[in-house]
Symmetry: C2
Subunit: 283 residues, 2 copies
């Protein structure tokens, strides 16, 4: 008889992690090439802060329907798109980042070809999740937030232009997915997405400004610093200096809070926002 | 007064080309980075044989509803996914192909970073098209056909394994999108997709076998030859020899024809099939 107490697997005890794993498995088959399977698992687990899916689920909860099948599917799809963007951004032809989340980046471990495929696969799988959940409007929202119009891919493409408009660049590269996360949470609960888009967008802009501060070491985001400067990227810190940038994070957070519809205040969302604000503003 | 006769722009006179252009534009914004916009246009126009969208539209026509909004949207989405796979397959870390359709490949012209983004953008845009048309089941079908389970990405990932099962590799890399094209045509007309999947899959397998023959110069597909052999890829010609491979193309085409439901024979589909068969079997 085994005298060890049975400990719940912390991953399996978190409903989001469990759903993400199960959606990944649903996108695979017995015949999936084994290295691709392993690399996809590596790309998604263990994750980072899972900010975007949390935002989606908390907005859904604030709108009164945390249990909707659409909510969890949307949260998983958003995290997959985010994962895809990290894997492709780390590639040698972009950031050439050897490390991510404290271990080798995907291409450093599995090679560049596999990293291209894993990014592709996560994009496709994200839409597969929304398709399976029957959420065509969600597909449209996520495609806009990740696509070449004004989504993540547009943001990434600004880095290839001789110069980029700072706000547009940040809005596309970062805020678009936060905005979509909030919108997807709202529609999952049958709420008006418009009211929540601005909330998500301001939050995303605050996150990006803090990320720029992190690049010069003012805020600790657990990543190597100096990357933006080394790659000559537009950065609010380089444009306005660290003091103004820090003020910007604060005011963007305030503007985000002001967008929450009064009838939809919720304790879990408030608490999460407070924690996030502390994280983004701590030295 | 201009005495020149007004000639219709051949691109605009073809409803599919027109729809594809308009779906691409719908996925862009005034703020899209200019080089990304130009590279996306370069990736899609002028196209190749447009076989997969033709298959989708012809199956829809055979099922009695050529005018459905879903049909054209699905045809555009399929061609975008196909375009994405060509751009990423040509990358230095895969085929390292300098040319495509008689001109520089996308990365040869716009650089590797842009080629990664264009492939990503076409994948996302494809799902955006289906999302806008409200076709959630279509999203599911296209995600399976392009994804890491048994779709194009799985097929591509087999090339990174020490060895690959030939049939599974061909099924995933090529037949899956033909199968999806037929299925999407069928559901666009409210027909049973199952009946058309096998038709599309056999057609795709025939196309891939002919492509293998093209690689050794037996069939002219307008591409450089010897690539599969040089890259050590599984090929039906290397496994079975050119005579058996040619016999295989014929028998796969016969099996495809046999799958067409008797009540759904249509002249346009028959004529297209005859033309395709001649193309795949000519020396």
């Amino acid at each position: 008889m085994n005298s060890e107490p049975i400990r719940a697997n912390p991953l399996l005890s978190n409903p989001f992690e469990q759903a993400l794993r199960s959606e990944l498995l649903l996108s695979l088959r017995a015949s999936t090439p084994p290295q691709l399977r392993e690399a996809l698992e590596y790309a998604l687990f263990p994750g980072g802060a899972r900010l975007r899916p949390a935002l989606c689920m908390l907005v859904a909860e604030a709108c009164g329907d945390a249990e909707s099948r659409w909510t969890m599917a949307a949260a998983c799809a958003i995290e997959m798109v985010h994962g895809a963007s990290l894997v492709h951004d780390d590639l040698p032809c972009f950031d050439d980042a050897e490390r991510r989340r404290g271990r080798p980046s995907l291409h450093a471990k599995y090679g560049e070809s596999m990293a291209v495929l894993v990014g592709d696969a996560l994009l496709v799988a994200a839409f597969g999740v929304l398709g399976r959940s029957g959420n065509a409007r969600g597909v449209e929202i996520l495609a806009e937030a990740s696509g070449p119009g004004s989504g993540i891919i547009a943001g990434q493409a600004w880095e290839l232009e001789p110069s980029a408009p700072l706000e547009e660049y940040h809005r596309a590269k970062t805020a678009s997915l936060f905005e979509a996360a909030a919108a997807l949470g709202a529609i999952s609960s049958g709420a008006n997405e418009g009211a929540w888009r601005a909330f998500g967008a301001f939050l995303g802009m605050a996150f990006q400004a803090a990320d720029d501060l992190g690049d010069i070491g003012v805020v600790d985001l657990g990543k190597p610093t100096g990357k933006d400067a080394a790659l000559g990227r537009p950065s609010i810190v380089r444009t306005e200096g660290p003091v103004a940038a820090r003020q910007r994070v604060k005011s963007l957070l305030d503007r985000a809070r002001a967008e929450i519809p009064e009838s939809k205040t919720s304790m879990p969302l408030q608490r999460w926002l407070e924690g996030l604000a502390q994280e983004l503003l701590r030295r």
